[in-house]
Symmetry: C2
Subunit: 214 residues, 2 copies
Amino acid sequence: MKYFEMPTALSEADAVILANGDFPKHEVPLSILRNSNYLVCCDGAINKLKHTNIEPQAIVGDCDSLGVESKERYAKILFRNPDQETNDLTKAVNYCLEKGMSNLIILGATGQREDHTLGNISLLLEYMNEATVQMITDFGIFTPVDSDSRFESFAGQQVSIFTVAEGEITTHNLKYPVHKRTFTNWWQGTLNEAESDEFSIETNGKLVLFRIFK
Amino acid sequence: MKYFEMPTALSEADAVILANGDFPKHEVPLSILRNSNYLVCCDGAINKLKHTNIEPQAIVGDCDSLGVESKERYAKILFRNPDQETNDLTKAVNYCLEKGMSNLIILGATGQREDHTLGNISLLLEYMNEATVQMITDFGIFTPVDSDSRFESFAGQQVSIFTVAEGEITTHNLKYPVHKRTFTNWWQGTLNEAESDEFSIETNGKLVLFRIFK
């Protein structure tokens, strides 16, 4: 059964992807951004790095929106992908997958247009077949779930289970137990609570799990 | 068939509800907030009104988090509801429904914790049986849809259809036509586009539709 730790300021991944939503403010995503092994920046997010001393290893996207200055400054690490069928986040993930990376963290993918936020969260369920891909926000971590899984937690941690494609859900070690239940609206799985340092979920549906930071 | 206009700075509703997410920045929700007929404030959001000259007609919630000063200042319009099974947004909506109001606009319900954002958006589908309830953000408007509906639009407007409970969807007058299709992931219905001043959706599922501002 897969096990997913809570991220810490020291969490490492093969690559960190910075998307074009709100730039991270919380210490955990900020530290992960600053200490990444390999940073891939969606092209729309590159301007947000200018006021930092963080240098990406790759910039991926359609690159249409990049100014002349950025195109020159980053010429050697620009990977232009004009595909109209995928968004910049998916282009960045695919870039990492093609390099054989198998453990990715996405930052900065929420907090602006809500349609982009919802789309980006749900894309985790597409990426999960190829790699372990989680999204860290200023409030917690989103993990895609399509089979029985275990999660690191802490007593009192708020935990929300969002159903993307319906399926039966059973939880173990959550304050409000769920037993072979199918959620028919997103709010039904919100604001559950971990009881100790681990909980688990059994499901045959497609879910995204959200655990908040301590 | 129900018809949903795009909101403007002059849009009116029986009541406007201010939730405890990000305070509005866009001119349309700000104007609607300033010119409301009746303003209901979720108790967690009352501090955000302090730096404005906007006075609510009612404050609804469990009121546990209100300071002594606020409790005294607003004593006559505080409606305490300690129910643990509903969140403050639902308490505010129920307060309006009990007053016989049938057309509500929710503001400030996104932009902070993503689990709250997702939960709040999905609650629109619960409220719709009792009243017309839409959510306006800094980027556009969310409308719950569970039957054939028509929508005001403009050529080139980005439109996203999020499936909350699966059902067949057919669209008319959108750039990327959907014909008797069932979406199995949220991103599949994102970033469609209106072609003119109206489009329509037929469905037997439960959806939330997002239209962005011009």
